[in-house]
Symmetry: C2
Subunit: 215 residues, 2 copies
């Protein structure tokens, strides 16, 4: 992440409205870098400490900016969390189409490989841990999880199934994968915690497929 100039303080705000600018065009200078640095700090803090124990002040301190600048960019803590999670969740969304668009009789394997792959990759694992830890303990974070996972991912998968119970099927399939993430990556129970990922895919993909398209 780039260094930031001294002109990054709240006083440098180009429009001076104080309104959260979440997705707007970055102003001249290095604001885009600042915003990214705040998001990086937010992901680290939420991952390590969970939603409730993370503060806007702590995020600002870790990013080397004033708290007011965090509020300027994002508004509330919930919004910072949502933005951090959205960035963390982007690889899921990027792969979503390839899960949805292939042959329907292999959708279980594609979905399983995507989720296991994201958890196996340390870069994506940390923010996923943050999402799970936060969603389990905080209603605001759970709402973000519901919106991202249920709406952005599962409904898209369900949309391909063309069955009246498609959403329930997609959630039961997701439950298998969420449970594996919990036992293997979060609570780390052996032997699942050390099992070969390919062995897991081989055992689990047919189950996920069965939920989605089985009788």
């Amino acid at each position: 992440m780039n260094g930031v100039t001294a002109s990054d303080g709240p006083a440098a705000s180009p429009n001076g409205t104080g309104a959260p600018r979440r997705r707007g065009r970055p102003p001249a200078g290095e604001s885009a870098g600042t915003r990214d640095r705040i998001l990086d700090a937010a992901r680290e803090q939420f991952s390590a400490r969970g939603y409730e124990k993370t503060s806007v002040r702590g995020i600002a301190k870790a990013a080397g900016v004033d708290s007011a600048l965090v509020h300027h960019y994002f508004g509330t803590k919930e919004r910072v969390f949502e933005a951090a999670v959205e960035v963390a969740f982007q690889p899921v969304l990027d792969q979503r189409d390839s899960v949805v668009e292939g042959p329907l009789d292999e959708v279980g394997e594609r979905m399983t490989r995507m989720i296991i792959g994201l958890w196996e990759n340390p870069v994506t694992r940390a923010p996923l841990l943050a999402i799970v830890r936060s969603a389990v303990n905080n209603d605001a974070a759970a709402a973000v999880f519901r919106r991202l996972v249920a709406t952005q991912l599962l409904r898209r998968v369900a949309g391909q199934l063309d069955r009246p119970d498609a959403e329930l099927r997609a959630e039961l399939a997701a439950a298998q994968l969420v449970g594996i993430a919990m036992i293997r990556y979060v609570i780390r129970v052996e032997p699942l915690a050390s099992a070969d990922p390919e062995d897991i895919v081989r055992r689990v993909a047919p189950v996920v497929q069965g939920h989605l398209t089985g009788p």
Copy 2:
């Protein structure tokens, strides 16, 4: 499991809740009732606040006793948690034998009914929520979860399967049920959150059975 006297009860209390610190043997008469009251308070605090935000002092206050008495009975916070979880986990252990001992081709349905039944019952749901919330956020609590769930429950189920990969099978079956608990009861994603429990059992029991005894 309290190995103290049976004649508990508030009337038998020799001194009030503002009692001075007592580090020695607890006075005869109130010990069993006091210990249970501490455990009740601990379960409530851990359920509502999670492991990290619960303190021995807060538990003592909620139970109407001095912190020193909590330390006297249980030692550290981790031990209070473990004792509270063991009591909460007792219904699982009580039903464990009936899961393990029936016909092997129905073990999936028995295991599914037991777990869904415990989560459907508000009395057992609260402490289960406390276990999940705490285990996700705290290593000491995760260790208690591993010991209770993996050692006390899953290894017993695996022991009936008589296969080299029995423990991994039991954990993948548990993962399906843990994931349902997460999505339905913890994060509450619809439509799974409002689905008929019998419908869930009908859909999920064959999957659990497949993990345990399938090819």
